[in-house]
Symmetry: C2
Amino acid sequence: MGRKGEETRGRLLGATQDLIESGGYFGAGVNQVLEASGAPRGSLYFHFPGGKDQLVGESVRRAGHEIGRMVRELAETVPDTAGLVAGVLALLGDRLEASGWRKGCPVATVALEMAAVSDPLQEVCSEVYGSWEETLRDRLAADGHPEPADTAATLLALVEGALLLAKAHRSREPLDRVARRVAVLLQGARR
Amino acid sequence: MGRKGEETRGRLLGATQDLIESGGYFGAGVNQVLEASGAPRGSLYFHFPGGKDQLVGESVRRAGHEIGRMVRELAETVPDTAGLVAGVLALLGDRLEASGWRKGCPVATVALEMAAVSDPLQEVCSEVYGSWEETLRDRLAADGHPEPADTAATLLALVEGALLLAKAHRSREPLDRVARRVAVLLQGARR
DNA sequence: TAAAATATGTAGACCGATCTATTATGAGGT
DNA sequence: ACCTCATAATAGATCGGTCTACATATTTTA
């Protein structure tokens, strides 16, 4: 593929990722992606012959993996799951606030917008959420939690919901409130 | 305003509400709203001189009040808060599934799409979420729950997150998993 | 009460801007 | 010379919004 080509492709994905995190599928207009990345129009359709949907799909997947890796890294330094969730909430809250309440979950907006109308994008969103949930479930199971599957899904819903409310209110308050209550939800973890 | 005018205005709001619930702000194109409502273009800008943003704002507020009322009605028939939340999850899950995984929360998508770029729409979303949270908080306080504010925010985040995951996976599973775990979160309610 | 004036609302052609996508062309690296 | 990739012009559809014309009520005035 060549060094240069790979770099252009990466810049396109990065710019798309950035715009998606702020405004979802429709917030990432092709023109804005091109301007932000500095790439010419033809290059986009060379590297992503599937057009915008392919571009968005790969961007969501990449962003999902980045966050997944971030969570796993955090998991290595924090011993208890409650602390891990609190850490994730804090980290994502920092990101959200530092971006002027723009950058929330890179998957959520696209999922809500497109899951019902685009099978490929729905699959990507489902897959990313599934991988995050799996990470949490494994961690809970290793902790000896009695209901790892249900609890993992609940924790993920909690984080996603808190992030949504924080963006809607332009405030960390929902994140803080949820963080305080997570411990209760995880009762019975290591009895 | 006249009987006919009021009716046209209502049809425009209803059509917009419907489209928003499926696809958010950008899913509710003006042309689609006009086609679905049967109203002519001129009527839209007569009844909503603020254009699309006013139309969407009023639709989100209306949809928010409808769900708020639904929750309060359910609260009258279900004694415990855990049951209330489970009931809400079941009801919204029915709606989501019956619509072919299209109709989720009427506020969430618009909030994620527009909160960062439109002050008026951000305010509407924040206000609706605030009113729902207030309903939950009052209920928890009446139950004698020790942390009504934190818990109300957490329950709302939980419901919103579960609804998001359900739409992303096109499955009730997240809703069911969360419903099973809500009881644990509400421990200490009536000690 | 009849006629005139005004307010309310419908109807759709039309506009510029923006959207994603296609195309033809040619430079640059291997 | 060959494939990779960049470049820009442009297509064609759709976006939200404005405009004028017209119909129907409602109010004012004589």
